[in-house]
C-alpha cells in the first residue's frame, strides 16, 4: 500500500510539498507523543502518528528516516516547522481525527508495527 492510498483513504491534509506519494511505500506504523519513545520504537521508513506538532518532531523523523508524520486532532505545526520538514524531506500530513482512530484505519489498511 502506498502513501497516496493512505492519504486518500484517511482523507489526510498534506502540509508539506506535494510529490508523487504513490511511489512511497511506508514499511510500518508507530504512535507515541513521547519523543524518546519514538526514538526507541519507530522503524525506518515508517509512518508516525502523533499529536505533537512542534519543530522537534521533524528532527526526530529525519534522524529516524521516517517517511511521514500524521499529526492528529487538528494540531497545527507552524510555518517554520513545515519548511524544516520540506528541507529534510519529511512528509507531514494532518487530520482532525484522534490518534487511536488513525492507527485503527492504518491497521485495517494492512499497515503493521515495525
Amino acid at each position: 500500500m502506498n502513501l497516496q492510498q493512505i492519504i486518500d483513504a484517511l482523507n489526510l491534509t498534506i502540509l508539506t510539498e506535494k510529490k508523487d506519494f504513490s511511489l512511497i511505500e511506508p514499511a510500518s506504523g508507530y504512535t507515541s507523543d513521547l519523543l524518546s519513545c519514538v526514538m526507541a520504537g519507530a522503524a525506518k521508513q515508517g509512518i508516525w502518528v502523533t499529536l505533537q506538532s512542534h519543530g522537534n518532531i521533524v528532527a526526530v523523523a529525519a534522524l529516524l528516516d521516517l517517511c511521514a508524520i500524521i499529526i492528529t486532532e487538528d494540531a497545527k505545526p507552524d510555518a517554520a516547522t513545515i519548511s524544516k520538514a520540506n528541507e529534510e524531506g519529511i512528509i507531514m500530513l494532518a487530520t482532525s481525527e484522534k490518534s487511536f482512530s488513525v492507527c485503527g484505519q492504518l491497521w485495517s489498511l494492512g499497515l503493521r508495527g515495525g
Binding site: 526514538m39 526507541a40 528532527a59 534522524l63 510555518a79 517554520a80
Partner: protein
C-alpha cells in the same frame, strides 16, 4: 523589454514565503534564461508566404516561430495565425499580414522565474529571447524550462555525490599515525527551535564520510537525546564534541550544571526530572539515557551535582564499517581487531 509587453504581476516574497520556497523555485530564480533556452531558434521572414510557413512548421514539428525583418524581430507567427489564414484561404499572403505584432519577449539575462510569470500571465506558448540590443538570440518554451530545471537538479544531486565521495576519502588521503576529525557543537539551554540540529548535522557528516546508514542512525539517535538533555536540563547549555576516527566514533557531551544527583536513578527507564511544560512537548519520557545506552557500544556518565555532567559515548566500527582504509590508524584500539583491508 519591448513596448507592449504586459507588466508581469510582481510577486512580493515575504519572509514567511521565503522559508517555504522549494529547491525548484530557488533554481527558477537562480537560473538565467540563457542557460535553458534553445539557441538554434528557427525564424521566418516577413515576406515569406504563409503556405511556406505551414510547410516549415510541418517539417520541423513546431507550432510557432519568430518573424524577422532583416535582423530585427518584428512579430511571432503561430499555429493560430495559420488557422486564421487557412480560414481566409490566403496561403499566398505574406507572413507580415497574419503575424502577431504584439511582442512579448524576455532577455537572456533575466532569471527563469520572469519567463514562468509571463507564461502564466499571458498564455503564450513561446517567448523570443533577445539580447541587450534587441536582437533575437533564442526561443524559450515551457519544455525548455522543465529540461533546464531537471538538468540543474541532476547537477545538485551529483554535487552531493561528489561531496560524499571526497569526504569518504578523507581518511585514506591523509597519512598520520592517528587521524581523527573533530566536530564541535555549542548547544544553548532552552533552544527548542534548534533542537536536533546538531544531531542532524552530525548524522549527515557521518553519511558523507561513508558511515553505514545503521551507524549513522544509531549515532544520530544517541546524540539527539544528549542534545535535548543539554537544551532541557542544563543551566548554561553545553558542548557536543564528536571525534571521528577510521575505526571508532567518540562523542563527548559536557555541561556546567546543574549536574545529576543520582546517576543510577537517572539511568532508570521512565525516570525524569522534566517539568510538566517540557513533558507536554513530548520530552521528559525518562527514556533518553536508556536510548543512548542501547545505541552506543560504550557509555560513561559522570556528574557532580552543582558542577556539571560529562557523558562519553563510543561506537566501535566493524571492519566493513570503518571510514577509509586505515590499517595503521587502528593500532591503538584495544577493543577491536585492527582493520585489515
Amino acid at each position: 523589454m519591448d513596448e507592449g509587453t504586459p507588466r508581469p504581476l510582481e510577486r512580493v516574497v515575504t519572509d514567511r514565503d521565503a522559508e517555504s520556497i522549494t529547491r525548484v523555485e530557488e533554481l527558477a530564480y537562480d537560473l538565467r534564461i540563457a542557460e535553458v533556452m534553445s539557441r538554434d531558434a528557427k525564424f521566418v521572414v516577413t515576406d515569406m508566404k504563409m503556405g511556406d510557413v505551414l510547410e516549415l512548421f510541418r517539417q520541423l514539428r513546431i507550432s510557432g516561430s519568430p518573424v524577422l525583418d532583416g535582423d530585427k524581430l518584428v512579430g511571432i507567427v503561430s499555429m493560430e495565425d495559420l488557422i486564421r489564414c487557412l480560414r481566409d484561404d490566403e496561403l499566398d499572403a505574406p507572413v507580415s499580414k497574419y503575424m502577431t505584432t504584439t511582442l512579448i519577449t524576455v532577455r537572456s539575462t533575466d532569471s527563469v522565474i520572469e519567463a514562468l510569470k509571463l507564461f502564466v500571465n499571458t498564455r503564450v506558448g513561446r517567448l523570443p529571447v533577445v539580447a541587450e540590443d534587441g536582437k533575437l538570440i533564442g526561443i524559450l518554451t515551457k519544455g525548455d524550462i522543465t529540461r533546464g530545471l531537471l538538468r540543474a537538479l541532476q547537477q545538485d544531486y551529483q554535487t552531493e555525490e561528489i561531496r560524499k565521495y571526497r569526504a569518504s576519502h578523507l581518511f585514506e588521503d591523509i597519512e598520520s599515525d592517528r587521524t581523527s576529525l573533530i566536530l564541535r557543537y555549542n548547544i544553548k539551554q532552552g533552544d527548542f527551535t534548534r533542537g536536533g540540529t546538531a544531531s542532524s548535522h552530525i548524522k549527515r557528516a557521518l553519511v558523507r564520510l561513508g558511515a553505514s546508514p545503521l551507524i549513522a542512525r544509531r549515532c544520530g539517535i544517541a546524540i539527539y537525546e544528549a542534545e535535548m538533555n543539554l537544551i532541557i536540563h542544563t543551566t548554561n547549555g553545553g558542548v557536543i564534541r564528536v571525534e571521528i576516527e577510521p575505526h571508532q566514533i567518540t562523542i563527548d557531551v559536557t555541561d556546567t550544571g546543574p549536574g545529576i544527583k543520582d546517576i543510577d536513578e537517572a539511568m532508570r527507564p521512565g525516570y525524569s526530572t522534566a517539568t510538566e511544560a517540557i513533558r507536554e512537548l513530548g520530552f521528559g519520557a525518562g527514556m533518553g539515557l536508556v536510548n543512548i545506552s542501547r545505541c552506543v557500544d560504550q557509555m560513561k556518565l559522570e556528574s557532580v551535582f552543582g558542577q556539571g555532567t560529562r557523558l562519553r559515548m563510543r561506537m566501535f566500527l566493524k571492519p566493513e564499517d570503518t571510514f577509509g582504509e586505515g590499517p595503521t590508524s587502528g593500532k591503538d584500539t584495544a577493543h577491536e581487531p585492527a582493520t585489515n583491508h
